[in-house]
């Protein structure tokens, strides 16, 4: 589970590079990342804006994606690659507590949706 307190908050002098000369402040603060693998590997993609749900309230959007995934799995089998994208969508949109609760309800047979 997530820890509540982190030791990673940079101190103020680190954050503002106060020990360095003022001109170095303008440097791109990515020095600590040069040794990592290229960050560009993570392509930023997420559930697209769905025109069926144009308003601020996206509750139904999350619910619909979850149901679409499970219907897809019911129709095509557990490992069908077409269902993967629905899975990604509902995981992006729905809080994990909701997903856990719905999974439990599905197992108990009490899920209130048209699976």
């Amino acid at each position: 589970m997530a820890e509540a307190v982190s030791a990673k908050t940079p101190s103020l002098s680190e954050q503002y590079h106060l020990e360095n000369e003022v001109k170095q402040v303008k440097e791109d603060p990515s020095d600590e990342n040069t040794s990592e693998e290229t960050p560009d590997d993570i392509t930023l993609k997420t559930a697209p804006a769905d025109f069926r749900f144009p308003t601020t309230n996206q509750t139904r959007h999350c619910f619909t994606r979850y149901i679409e995934y499970h219907r897809c799995v019911a129709a095509k089998g557990d490992d069908a690659p077409e269902c993967d994208k629905f899975a990604k969508f509902y995981r992006s949109l729905c809080p994990s507590e909701w997903v856990d609760r719905w999974n439990e309800q599905r197992e108990n047979g009490t899920f209130p949706g048209p699976l």
């Binding site: 997530a2 820890e3 509540a4 307190v5 982190s6 990673k8 908050t9 101190s11 103020l12 002098s13 503002y16 106060l18 020990e19 003022v22 402040v25 791109d28 603060p29 990515s30 990342n33 990592e36 960050p39 560009d40 590997d41 993570i42 930023l44 993609k45 997420t46 559930a47 697209p48 804006a49 144009p54 308003t55 601020t56 309230n57 996206q58 509750t59 959007h61 999350c62 990604k88 995981r91 992006s92 949109l93 729905c94 809080p95 994990s96 507590e97 997903v99 856990d100 999974n103």
Partner: protein, 262 residues
């Protein structure tokens, strides 16, 4: 001594992204929405000053000239067609000049023209926030979830803001369209970051979506904006916008130790 000089040199020219003592105006805009709000405020303020000066002038003039010693016999005017027409047309024109930019901003705020690149879930609890970045998981386990608690006053370092700092900030890439889904796990909260022009209620059982584009790197502060119990004043929000190419490594490296998951 050198650090004090440098601090005053650098910090006094840094943008206002957190509440300042005795602040009168808005914080500096970090998103197009906030810039639009500030521009609308300036538009309306112009007409406001116009009307204020006019009304005050008429009021003072009336008080001055209609003093019983100055003017013992007041004139009794019942109607005047020209002035009545003018005083109907001008206010409608002013209302129109205020309404047009106002509605333009209102409807453009709701438009989501570009698909967002990232979805971040901000879940309010009593009395902390949980952030989930779940775009990358391949199973129902979250890829990245962490809690964000306020740093208590005793643990603050020199230069940090009281009641505004948190231990884990929301790291977002700058100049990227984000979708933030705001909800709550217990009572209503509100996720507000003034410099980004965001205030979105976190209602349990409901997912509210906001679309923002943070235009510059920086650290933006906000506070919980819906009464949620005793520590409502002690649940701040801190958004840190990093360059897009650094976002990947920040998210995968700096935050992994807290979640223990890849």
């Amino acid at each position: 001594m050198k650090t004090i000089v440098l601090k005053w040199l650098f910090l006094t020219i840094s943008p206002c992204d957190a509440a300042e003592p005795w602040q009168l105006g808005s914080q500096d805009a970090a998103t197009p929405i906030m810039q639009g709000i500030i521009d609308l405020h300036h538009d309306i303020f112009f007409f406001l000053i116009l009307i204020l000066v006019f009304v005050l002038w008429i009021l003072v003039r009336a008080l001055w000239h209609f003093h019983y010693k100055e003017n013992a016999i007041p004139q009794r005017i019942v109607h005047g067609t020209t002035i009545e027409i003018l005083r109907t047309i001008f206010p409608s024109l002013i209302s129109m000049f205020i309404a047009i930019p106002s509605f333009a901003l209102l409807y453009s705020m709701d438009e989501v023209v570009v698909d967002p690149a990232i979805t971040i879930k901000a879940i309010g609890h009593q009395w902390y926030r949980t952030y989930e970045y779940s775009d990358y998981n391949s199973s129902d386990e979250q890829s990245l979830t962490f809690d964000s608690y306020m740093i208590p006053e005793e643990d603050l370092e020199l230069g940090q803001s009281r009641l505004l700092e948190v231990d884990n900030r929301v790291v977002v890439p700058a100049k990227t369209h984000l979708r933030i889904i705001v909800t709550s796990a217990d009572v209503p909260h509100s996720w507000a970051v003034p410099s980004s022009g965001v205030k979105c209620d976190a209602v349990p059982g409901r997912l509210n979506q906001i679309s923002i584009l943070v235009q510059r790197e920086g650290v933006y502060y906000g506070q919980c904006s819906e009464i949620c119990g005793t520590n409502h004043a002690f649940t701040p929000i801190v958004v840190e916008a990093v360059p897009r190419k650094d976002y990947g490594s920040r998210v995968s490296n700096q935050l992994i130790p807290q979640t223990g998951e890849a």
